[in-house]
Symmetry: C2
Subunit: 486 residues, 2 copies
Amino acid sequence: MHQDNKLNGAATIILLATSGLIMAAAAIAAPAQPVDHAIVPAEVESAAILLRERALLDNLSVDIVESLTTEVGPRRIGTDGDKRVIAWAQAKFRELGFDRVWIEDVDLDRGWIRGEAKAEILSPYPHNIVLTALGYSVGTGGDLIGEIVEFKTLEDLEAVPEGDSLKGKIAFVSYSMRDYVPQPGEAEMSGYGIGTRARGRGHVVAAKRGAAAIIIRSVGTDTNRYAHTGSGYGYVDDVAKIPAAAISPPDAMLIQNMLKRGKPVMLKINMTSEITGPAKSANIIGEITGREGGDDYLVLGAHIDSWDEGTGAIDDGAGVGSMMAAAALIGQMEQRPRRSIRVLLFAGEEIGFYGVRSYYERHQNDMHEHILGAEVDGGGGRIHTLTSGVGEKSLAIVHEMYKLIAPLGIVWSNANDARGASDMSVLSKAGMPALNFSQNSNDYFDYHHTPNDTFDKIVPEDMRYLTAAYATLFYVAAELDVDFRQ
Amino acid sequence: MHQDNKLNGAATIILLATSGLIMAAAAIAAPAQPVDHAIVPAEVESAAILLRERALLDNLSVDIVESLTTEVGPRRIGTDGDKRVIAWAQAKFRELGFDRVWIEDVDLDRGWIRGEAKAEILSPYPHNIVLTALGYSVGTGGDLIGEIVEFKTLEDLEAVPEGDSLKGKIAFVSYSMRDYVPQPGEAEMSGYGIGTRARGRGHVVAAKRGAAAIIIRSVGTDTNRYAHTGSGYGYVDDVAKIPAAAISPPDAMLIQNMLKRGKPVMLKINMTSEITGPAKSANIIGEITGREGGDDYLVLGAHIDSWDEGTGAIDDGAGVGSMMAAAALIGQMEQRPRRSIRVLLFAGEEIGFYGVRSYYERHQNDMHEHILGAEVDGGGGRIHTLTSGVGEKSLAIVHEMYKLIAPLGIVWSNANDARGASDMSVLSKAGMPALNFSQNSNDYFDYHHTPNDTFDKIVPEDMRYLTAAYATLFYVAAELDVDFRQ
């Protein structure tokens, strides 16, 4: 009987998704705490549960990522892929039934050509090395040969006197994100932030000490033979512009094993990357227009650009797919929600929030219209924790809303200190209330910024859970007449 | 108490490894079945247990792989790496205290230059494709452009009429080893053999049908963005020599997703690989000479060559490390075993057993001197099953020997149908008794023949178990006066 009940339960989910048996859906969602119908009306609750269960069975978010990674692929800002994705995203919004679709120009002050990157250890033991130019690095102008000098961290490199103490050498920062142990109270991925410090400004620190180039161990959690690219913070006036590259973790370990033997390790690098002139890009926006009109709206964000060696499936195809699908599923309900929902696909996140900064400049006088925002930029994994960043009065309301996604295995944080993730952090700094849905990102930094960020890394079941959580919560938020700033 | 006992047990292991408390070692090996001392004398049993426990604590096998992959790295036959490894192996044997070290020339009738391999999909959606030339493929002689035609298997390709039915096309065999489900009774890795059929002669089958080139989905179990190289069976007279390459699994899936959309998929390939003239290589042999002299010996094998994009850690650095270390640990015992043990490091396994064939030609009249043989060529994983391939009378003796390695978590197969693994299969076909130690190879075909076959993929604890099993069993076999042919 127990087994039969289970089977009937599963059958019921499928039936209700196609027939709309709302009460059956409510029944299987037990044992959630009852929702306070003074806050979330019973009909909103019922519709939200139906939406949630439909979203769990709907592969739309995955299909969008498949379309994006197949039909566009790499789409670094300023490249041909970027142009293609701007067309793709507008067409996809329209195909999905969004009521309004438009783009907003983003000016790019400098472009970059990746070119080719090769390296080999010349002595003591010849080896090819897998490396990749860091974003906006200059090239080497032919073969660059130097002795490798290892520093465990950027701070160790900074401890060397400025001047010519590294003259002609290749500085190597061997910090391993994989081996970083977060301190008590630190976030789980805090090792990433430490790694990005050397990635961001290591080339300036090394150049001030006379180094001819800098290589860093890739900032990632894997030990695959890929180099993880990423963006530097740019060159500085009056400091030599030296090439900067990341090497794969196995090659970093290989070099360390050579250095342990006490012999000079000579590296040859050849990179043809090049900084170019200004270019144009765009943020792409799709709207499910609320039935009551009005100027205010909720915003779901993701970044449309990707790095250029993979097809950008987890970074940030997963965000694009889940956010487009969440809003589209809301748009497929019997009626439009009370308020509008906009999906904001930002340009140029990878090189420093270019798109959202441009968006903010254009919309700084409209920030009061942004009722609530959230962004997915951590892959396609399931949500484990919901943290709000709303006014004090709203906290109890968000907790009632949360009850509708608790059955997805999501826990509640009472901290109420959330900022929007990634691009959305710029808008929440400007006062926009935000929700932060912390994801399972255990393998995210295995693939991140590598050629291996491809569609097969998306786990469809997890993407459906992710999408269901956002769709449900944002649908309810769009129905309620709440000022989340309060 | 129970917990304390466990702790004491662990402490005992460490103590005995340095102090030689043989009886303590025997005590912790319980609950093995008692060994029949009429077959394995008590003093041999005790020494074997001490050897086993020492080997479990000794990192020598891992250190050898580190040395090989760091100081030599890629070592495809006929390359500079091959020359370096011949010197490295002789020096390493001597450093490890082998009594005799020598090389035996191997003639290579044809060399091969890998060159560079690039590919991109031109339409309907531009994408770079990760591919690698299959061993001994010709190059493309500039850009080769053709429409992709997919075949699920080599048999599907064979079903197309010969002549010009694929004129100017690029044949694509999309068989996935990862998705292969072994039939009842098939070995766990049987999906590999199927994949190697298209890898081996797909270029001939495709050329007979007019194809301009062939690409296959890499033969591997991963979905990383590496192409797995491997050897073709060579070109055939009177059939056009067309280029053959493997593409990465994610790129294979990408192309399949494009083909599903019903539009022609145009691929551009540029490979500069080239077949060259004859070259010289060598098998390298190290011997721990038995204390009773005599002309017969036991042989432990591995192949010294590797593919050229990784550093050959699992294929077959793990074999080289475990076999060298097993014999070296036997050589470190208080006295030499009764009979000699030779470690045979074979050249050119990857391109078709070149080294062992040369060895057999030279030694075909000495095959009676080869008492027992085994080879590691499946990575550094632990042994799960021991299968013998010996005379009927010997089976009971091998079972007594087996009891000494049962505590390593190894089960016994009574099939007695083993041939030596890899190269050693050539010698066991010629009548040499063999043991087959089946390994845990679950991730072996994730890394196999890719740039990702690097030292970090070696699990030290597993390598120590692997080495302990071979050292223990071959020590006992070298002590006993048994004709394993009987």
